[in-house]
Symmetry: C2
Subunit: 196 residues, 2 copies
DNA sequence: AAATTAATTGAACGGCGTCCAATTTTTTAA
DNA sequence: TTAAAAAATTGGACGCCGTTCAATTAATTT
């Protein structure tokens, strides 16, 4: 049996998330399984359920971790950068998605049952990433257009997401596009050209 | 047992695709199963495998059918339309995705194993939808910029896709966006403003 | 009518998420 | 210190899944 006194509940949670994220990143969402995570940490499947309650809750926590890493890598890329911060953010978006394909893809492959909302903390993480883009867009907008930063950020995030998604899922390859990042940057520039 | 002489191999294939697409549209990709399709058409699971060879091949055929319907609805929307054809195409994109959520979502939720390419006929269907957009964009481009229609169409498709994806997966709801179609149209207009 | 070919079946396999009674460990109370 | 209560952990059982394949049935050919 167990290793009951080896870990507190919090340590165990962290252990499972650590191993779970490792496995998810390695095998991808389609091949990921809670049972395999249990094996990986040396506990039984029942313990996973005791800690997380369900497969969906585990997946949501793992995707939350991906969002944490994503936000950190985005901020790291922008730190100290003087010029072309928006372009740098787009590059960071693509680099993260390409460099952590499986984890990034799982953010969108996994869906809660219809009608169910992600937890407050998950929504906060999404909002945090969005917030960075809102801030960067506000910075390049004329001061009398600052209130358009949020809707514009949402829309440009969607545009960049679409480019990144097509780059990863093979659509762009099928259509002969060989510079998705360049195309995404061009679309963002087009949108901002409105204001100059 | 069987209904051996009830259907030719082609009829059987069509029967399975019909019922399969009906079920996929009803329950969505996550709950879809080949076994249930077999029940639905009154054959055994083995017959599905005899006709399609694998679950992946069945899914690809079903997604191909979705692309067929999508292309038809896009062309129907444009038929006879004189003005704002690009806006109409964007509306058709969203209407299709929203009106057939499960079928549309399955196009992206289902992924072939890494490295495997979709069949030639599947790629042709994707190219056909793209082709419509290339044609529409070429029509509004200045004549000396016609060779930019293809790359621009790819990029704008990605942008619209991103907006549509966020509209369906809840990201836009999370971020407070309440007019995804309007936002998508605005981004397309921004891109075309380059040329005027 | 017999032999050959093709279509169809469904049990079997290993894997999945989920549940939960039984067990073990820890904590609390006496 | 010991007994009772609470918490953690286990792993078998359930009903699904995609996949395979020997056995069976039906159609076709000889």
């Amino acid at each position: 049996m167990g290793r009951r006194s080896d870990h507190t509940r919090e340590e165990l949670r962290e252990l499972i998330l650590e191993e779970g994220h490792r496995q998810l990143s390695e095998v991808g969402f389609a091949r990921f399984s809670a049972r395999e995570v249990a094996k990986g940490v040396g506990y039984s499947i029942g313990t996973i359920y005791n800690v997380f309650g369900s497969y969906n809750a585990l997946m949501l926590a793992l995707n939350g971790r991906t969002l944490d890493i994503w936000l950190a890598s985005l901020e790291e890329r922008l730190a100290g950068r003087e010029n072309d911060r928006l372009d740098a953010a787009i590059e960071a978006y693509f680099d993260f998605a390409l460099g952590r394909r499986h984890a990034w893809t799982a953010l969108y492959d996994f869906r809660l049952p219809e009608g169910e909302l992600p937890s407050e903390s998950y929504r906060e993480k999404v909002a945090a990433i969005t917030g960075v883009i809102v801030r960067e867009i506000a910075a390049v907008l004329p001061s009398d257009a600052r209130d358009e930063a949020l809707p514009l950020a949402r829309s440009l995030l969607a545009s960049v997401h679409g480019h990144c998604f097509f780059a990863l899922n093979g659509t762009f390859t099928m259509l002969g596009e060989d510079d998705p990042v360049g195309a995404a940057k061009a679309r963002v520039a087009d949108a901002l050209a409105r204001y100059s």
